[in-house]
């Protein structure tokens, strides 16, 4: 029931209320101002939306826009965006390519035996699409500004009875049904996902392997970490994980005095050699498998 203290007198929305007020992201800034061509695609919903916006700046009926001029504006916009390295979604680039082609068709006289559509036909189809999109937007505005149930007109607040002609005593919509099915299957699909087993070198694997190898080193013989990893690793997919784990393992072995490390500069190869404490004292840790 309408609660006391309603202060609704003022916000009666007329049929001419701007659509923006009624949108969720109402009043959102469009990415482009007419004067300064500020490049920002954030506010646009795809290339057609951008084109429509550009076409509106020509301020004429869409059936009479200069498609050539429009194509040029769009291409200029895209160029500018690329210059300042804005990442453009693929469909913006596809549209640019198409418009560049259209431009050439409009500028070059039609060849005698050319089967493809003429530039004029292509231009007409583009103008048509823009006009249609604009028409749908206008329709949406008119729709949303109608007297809406629950906002402008109200239903019986205290219904006494729900009439039904359905013979069945149960109610469910197709949406309910599909939603139930999709979420059920989804739930189970996700619980049943088996993550593909990745070949990962654990730290203890790496340590074990390194310890074995270190035993084989000649005294004072520096060996590049990369180099001896290569001997082991045939699968390139394994290399990253192996190197990462092996490096971590070397640090551990260095701390224990079993290994020495050397690197001549940043990004230079890392060399290993046997540390002072290697001989014989295998008693803890290194081999427990």
């Amino acid at each position: 029931m309408p609660g006391p203290g309603s202060k609704s007198q003022k916000n009666g929305r007329g049929a001419d209320a701007p659509m923006e007020d009624l949108w969720q992201e109402g009043g959102e800034e469009r990415g482009l101002s007419e004067e300064s061509l500020v490049v920002d695609l954030a506010g646009f919903e795809g290339p057609l939306d951008l084109l429509l916006h550009l076409a509106r700046t020509q301020k004429v009926d869409l059936t009479r826009i200069s498609v050539l001029a429009l194509a040029e504006q769009y291409l200029a916009f895209i160029d500018k965006a690329r210059k300042i390295r804005i990442e453009l979604a693929a469909d913006y680039l596809v549209m640019a390519a198409w418009l560049a082609y259209l431009k050439s068709r409009l500028l070059i006289p039609k060849q005698a035996k050319d089967d493809g559509p003429t530039g004029e036909e292509m231009a007409a189809s583009l103008a048509f699409r823009l006009k249609r999109l604009e028409a749908m937007r206008d329709a949406a505005t008119r729709l949303v500004n109608r007297n809406r149930l629950g906002r402008d007109v109200f239903a019986r607040g205290m219904p006494e009875h729900i009439p039904t002609e359905r013979r069945s005593a149960f109610e469910a919509s197709l949406y309910d049904l599909l939603n139930a099915y999709a979420s059920l299957r989804q739930r189970h699909a996700i619980t049943q996902v088996t993550i593909e087993k990745r070949n990962v070198w654990s730290l203890s694997d790496a340590r074990e392997i390194l310890s074995l190898l270190v035993g084989g080193f000649a005294d004072d013989d520096w060996t590049a970490l990369d180099h001896f990893m290569l001997r082991y690793l045939t699968d390139p997919a394994e290399r990253t994980t192996a190197i990462a784990s092996a490096f971590a393992a070397t640090l551990e072995l260095v701390r224990e005095g079993r290994l020495e490390l050397r690197q001549d500069g940043v990004f230079q190869p890392i060399y290993l050699r046997r540390g002072p404490k290697t001989e014989g004292d295998d008693e803890e840790g290194t081999k427990n498998g």
Binding site: P4, R156, G157, I162, R166, S168, F170, D176
Partner: protein, 232 residues
């Protein structure tokens, strides 16, 4: 007019203003989820209009109609005329919403038919209570289709013509497939690549490993409800 009680500032008697006040009172009472207090209405009427006068006029206006304006407790409400209760209170049972579990089972039957109960449970990952299938059978949306030619010869379930009618489908093939469920946002993109939505087998076709169900089967299985309630 004679027994009008006059509030401070005098009473409005202009018929147009009174009509407007009556419209407001009428709409307020109609849209409210409970009886509306006289004060609440009074606050919303044009200044100087006597609320009681307006409500009494309205009450008189609706007196002979199918809907009456009545005073309940401290407030005003519309009620259908008592003598018409026979039209309103019909024999219909109240329409109930299908439970989540029932919806799930129904959708599995729709998509995976012919399907056995064990298969339904496997897909859902939980046991299906007997009641759930009963509800769907009672609704007339699910039926026994046949029996699977596997050990135990389990009964298979399928949907009915009423099911298609209720959900506005012409045929089972009209159920949206994987791509369409995704496209409509019902399935998210985060599903494994081997995920499939089956194409249901038409109502009258029997699967290769399916035998038609017979009256005998039903009796043997004890699936006939007491009183021979089966429709076909």
């Amino acid at each position: 007019m004679a027994d009008e009680d006059v509030p401070e500032g005098g009473t409005i008697v202009d018929p147009r203003r009174l009509h407007e006040a009556a419209r407001i009172a009428e709409a307020l009472v109609f849209a409210s989820a409970g009886p509306v207090s006289q004060n609440y209405i009074a606050e919303r009427l044009p200044r100087g209009v006597d609320v009681l006068h307006v409500l009494r006029e309205l009450k008189g206006l609706y007196a002979g109609r199918g809907v009456n304006l009545v005073q309940v407790d401290d407030g005003w409400a519309f009620r259908t005329a008592p003598d018409l209760s026979f039209v309103i209170r019909t024999d219909e049972t109240e329409v109930r919403k299908l439970s989540r579990a029932a919806l799930e089972v129904l959708s599995i039957i729709a998509y995976h038919q012919p399907v056995t109960r064990a298969e339904i449970e496997e897909i859902r990952g939980v046991q299906t209570s007997k009641g759930t299938l009963d509800v769907l059978m009672e609704a007339g949306w699910v039926r026994f289709r046949g029996r699977r030619r596997t050990p135990g010869r389990p009964v298979t379930f399928g949907t009915t013509r009423d099911f298609l009618d209720h959900f506005g489908l012409e045929e089972l093939r009209d159920l949206p497939g994987l791509e369409e469920l995704k496209g409509a946002g019902l399935l998210s993109g985060r599903i494994p690549s081997n995920f499939q939505v089956p194409l249901p087998l038409g109502e009258d076709e029997l699967a290769e490993d399916e035998d038609p169900i017979t009256q005998l089967d039903l009796e043997e299985l004890g699936l006939l409800t007491p009183g021979g309630k089966e429709d076909e």
